[in-house]
């Protein structure tokens, strides 16, 4: 059996496992209605934000703190036009709004590198949040808006759908020429440009595609909260959490951020209910520890341990 055949066999096995997990997830509302569905929805929300973040920031090394802006754009889309149009279209429009915002941001910030990009995206988030707040108070006369309620099951199915599409998009991009282009941009942007990569186009497109999914997730999740204002929709933590979860899970593989955010969201849920006072403190400590001791994240650590374990096995036989 040659290597190519071995590889396809491995791919088929992972594909089958993925499909099995997906089918299992799809039937959760049937055999475990109520709280598990709500919990899984919020896990999926963070998974989408994190995978979306890793899609662009993982290979390029550009730390974007704009996810909350894209997410909030989606939320406000639902709040503004939610009642008039079918929900699926609303979600699409929410994604498209974020897509356009990301195109604009990307086109504006091409000259910024390193820390300036991170700071700019953060400033942009705060600018949008404050402007929306100002507009609502001075022109609409209300602070927040009410959003129509959809069932928890519906939210869950939508999130699952967005998640699947995102994973497909992320995998396709990662294994295409654009994935390679992103990695080379991350390693040495100028060299990448000299190799004939249209650096600007690749960066902006991938940034915008990742924003599409964040926006779509936002417009679905808006219906869960029923009431939103600029503080809820553009909450800073939606920008920091994906970064932390990606670091925690590891950015080398696509399932790293998935695992990282799933574990972290569950942890957050437990901590908030048990220790509401110290939850943010623990969050900070985990962040520092993850940066210091988990350079490749949880998945990187497991892989390292696994490698060491399997090498020992070979040495023994």
């Amino acid at each position: 059996m040659d290597i190519a055949a071995l590889k396809t066999k491995k791919n088929i096995t992972t594909g089958v496992i993925m499909l099995a997990i997906l089918i299992l997830l799809a039937f959760v509302p049937l055999y475990a209605p109520g709280y598990p569905v709500i919990l899984l929805s919020s896990i999926l929300m963070y998974v989408i934000l994190t995978v979306g973040w890793v899609m662009f920031s993982g290979p390029t090394g550009y730390i974007s703190l704009a996810p909350a802006a894209f997410f909030g754009f989606g939320i406000y889309t639902t709040a503004i036009i939610g009642e008039a149009i079918p929900f699926a279209v609303v979600v699409l429009i929410g994604g498209a709004a974020s897509f356009c915002l990301a195109m604009l941001v990307g086109a504006l910030t091409l000259r910024l590198r390193g820390i300036y990009f991170a700071v700019f995206t953060f400033g942009l988030l705060m600018l949008i949040a404050n402007s929306v707040n100002y507009y609502e108070i001075h022109f609409t006369g209300t602070r927040g808006r009410f959003v129509m309620v959809k069932g928890y099951d519906l939210i869950y199915f939508y999130m699952l759908g967005i998640f699947v599409l995102l994973m497909i998009a992320a995998t396709v991009i990662k294994h295409s020429r654009y994935g390679l282009a992103l990695i080379s941009i991350g390693l040495e942007e100028e060299a990448a440009e000299h190799c004939g990569i249209n650096v600007v186009m690749v960066k902006v497109m991938v940034f915008a595609i990742s924003a599409f999914f964040m926006g779509a997730a936002g417009s679905v999740m808006a219906t869960k909260w029923t009431y939103i204002d600029s503080g809820i929709a553009f909450y800073m933590l939606y920008s920091f959490m994906p970064v932390l979860m990606a670091l925690f899970g590891g950015m080398g593989q696509l399932f790293g951020p998935v695992i990282g955010s799933a574990i972290f969201t569950y942890l957050e849920e437990v901590l908030i209910t048990r220790f509401p006072e110290v939850y943010m403190l623990i969050f900070g400590i985990i962040l520092v520890i993850a940066i210091l001791y988990l350079p490749d994240g949880l998945v990187g650590l497991i892989q390292k341990l696994w490698k060491r374990f399997s090498e020992r096995k070979h040495a023994n036989t």
């Binding site: 390193g114 942009l124 970064v243």
Partner: protein
Amino acid sequence: MSVHDGFLSVRSGQPANIITSIQEAFGMIVKIFDVLVAGLLLGGIYALIAVGLSLQYGVARVFNISHGEFIMLGAFATWILYTTAGINPLISLIICGPFVFLIGFFLHKTLFKSLLSSSPNMNVFEGKSMLACFGLLFIIQNIALLIWGADFKGYSYLNVGINFLGAVFAANRLVTLLAALAIGAVFYLFLAFTRMGKAIRAAAQDPKTAGLMGVNINQVLALCFGFGAVMAGFAGALISMCYPIQTTMGLEYTVIAIIVVALGGMGSIVGSFIGGFLLGLIGSIVTSIEPSLYLIVFYFIFSLLLLVRPKGILGR
């Protein structure tokens, strides 16, 4: 309406109305002067905060998002010393300084030094250290929240009005401005004329070469981080004299520091002071016109500056 009346009455030659319109104009000038003075008084604190951040990023390459938390620590330490022991806030500057310095110094010695040695290049280090600072922000803020709660705290120090050419302000604001200017000047002289200052400037220009020239680079970077923290602590102490303080006040001042640094340029004390006074003036003018707009204007200037001239006005 009144202007129109005044105009007509001037033409019909009624002296009493001329006097009122002169008074109105004079009131306007006083108001503008008032706004300008308020802006300058605010600018001193802004400048001091920015000097600290610019030192930490300009030399130690740590983009310290938790800068505001050191400001908060300084403010609360001063508040405690004043309310429990009755110590003059200006004296507690001297007491708090070393403590905050040690916190900053050892943070760099432990956390950032190991990040520095594990990062393949400076870009990776900057990203990692910024994220670590987010962690620090949450840790420091939440410990403070556990100790002091989320309420506003404050005390009254030198809260007497001073009338300066018609502009009325509290004496403590003038004290903060003078203290900020003095601290900035002392630090400028320290950088310009001492051996350690020379080492810091060398490290800012090129850390590797400075290391080769016999500068103990790790020591200098840790010192710089410590000094940056001290500046934040000082600023916090000064802030607590005039404004109510709160455990969650940090981020707001961090953002201001970042904007001032973006205005004045990284690693320049003079630039920080120019930027600080500029932002103070802008803030004061905007607040006098439409108070709820001032955060939007800050963030707008900030985003615009980063796009147009990321190096700042005086940046190299």
